[in-house]
């Protein structure tokens, strides 16, 4: 279970805008430490966003995404009070799911 994400979801004119700040090292796997040993890759592989149980966004990430990724997207629909759920799974099998209420 990773660190909590910060999610904000706002609905306007039939569209919901979601902004997520995820907490993750996103280690690419190409860096070496002070002793010259490669630092193992540790990064998010998949991101899934759901609204009322329906997938509204899915993403395949990799070593190119930076530390503490920020993701903003919008989808049609969504009303105040409903929930948006964001889930990520990383290359070590760790995952995190957080939900937010649409305001």
């Amino acid at each position: 279970m990773g660190n909590p994400m910060r999610i904000r979801a706002k609905s306007a004119n039939g569209e919901t805008t979601v902004r997520v700040l995820m907490s993750h090292r996103m280690e690419g796997g190409q860096r070496k430490d002070a002793n010259g040993k490669p630092i193992p890759a540790h990064h998010i592989n998949t991101v899934t966003a759901k609204h009322n149980g329906k997938v509204v966004l899915s993403a395949d990430w990799g070593p190119a995404v930076s530390q503490n990724p920020y993701l903003a997207f919008s989808f049609k629909g969504g009303a105040k009070g409903e929930t948006v759920e964001i889930n990520w799974v990383d290359n070590k099998g760790d995952s995190r799911t957080d939900t937010a209420t649409i305001s």
């Binding site: 660190n3 909590p4 910060r6 700040l21 907490s23 503490n68 903003a72």
Partner: protein
């Protein structure tokens, strides 16, 4: 959050106009504005808030009774009135040295041992997050560092002396870089800290998340790194010298809007 974001962005825009902008500085500020939404500092803030409310340490207590100058447990507005004199310790303290005091008296940690921990590691990482949370609770408020107590006035003068004192291998002082308007280091403008440099600049811009190295830096870390850049000996964490500099800069920044936790390149 949105209101503060707009205020911060407007403040940044206004303050940079007054600064006499080069195209390069305009570019940097535009980059900062783009980054401001989704500032990773918020993750550290969230963790800090949780740490504040979690029972920890040998005494298994929370920090919710910590007096940051406005009464036990009052966090909102405390940051913009620090550093200040505290009767219980008889010292002028900044945010981080005061957190050390609270962690010792309320939670039973050994403050002297905590101060020795390397930045970003162990308990120092927790102090960093708590400091970020406390600073964030004053976001958008204006600095009002007190100068009522005799010690506060003395510390201002001490800070001023330290600010201008040249030393180290390069004969640098804080004033070497921060003593005049319009100075820069390579392509980064450096503010004049002998006076109020404007909203969200200098003292009013820390703690901040640095995108370049992905680290959350507190004021103590910023001062530590300033001394490193000047090739001075390393200052002790929360030392009187660093607090005095905070008093000097904080009083000079009277009325400036705090944008902490901010974001830097």
């Amino acid at each position: 959050m949105r209101k503060h974001l707009l205020t911060a962005m407007t403040a940044l825009a206004l303050s940079t106009l007054a600064y006499g902008q080069s195209d390069m500085e305009k570019g940097i500020n535009k980059y900062r504005e783009m980054l401001a939404d989704g500032n990773p500092a918020e993750l550290f803030e969230m963790n800090g808030e949780e740490l504040w409310k979690t029972a920890r340490g040998p005494k298994n207590a929370t920090l919710e009774k910590c007096d940051l100058g406005k009464g036990p447990g009052v966090v909102k507005g405390a940051f913009v009135e620090l550093p200040r004199f505290f009767a219980d310790t008889g010292r002028v303290q900044d945010l981080e040295s005061r957190l050390l005091t609270c962690m010792e008296t309320l939670q039973g940690f050994n403050a002297a041992e905590l101060a020795k921990v390397k930045y970003n590691k162990g308990e120092m990482a927790n102090i960093r997050d708590i400091a970020t949370y406390v600073a964030g609770q004053s976001k958008g408020m204006r600095f009002a560092v007190p100068q009522n107590h005799a010690s506060e006035k003395t510390m201002y003068e001490v800070g001023k002396r330290l600010f201008f004192a040249r030393g180290g291998t390069h004969d640098f002082a804080c004033a070497t870089c921060h003593g005049e308007d319009g100075k820069r280091i390579r392509l980064q403008g450096v503010p004049n800290l002998t006076k109020n440099p404007g909203d969200g600049i200098g003292f009013a811009a820390w703690p901040a998340y640095r995108v370049g190295n992905g680290q959350m830096w507190t004021m103590q870390k910023r001062l530590n790194d300033c001394y490193r850049q000047q090739r001075f000996p390393e200052p002790k964490y929360g030392s009187d010298a660093t607090v005095a500099l905070g008093v000097y800069m904080g009083v000079n920044a009277k009325g400036a809007e705090s944008i902490a936790p901010a974001i830097k390149r």
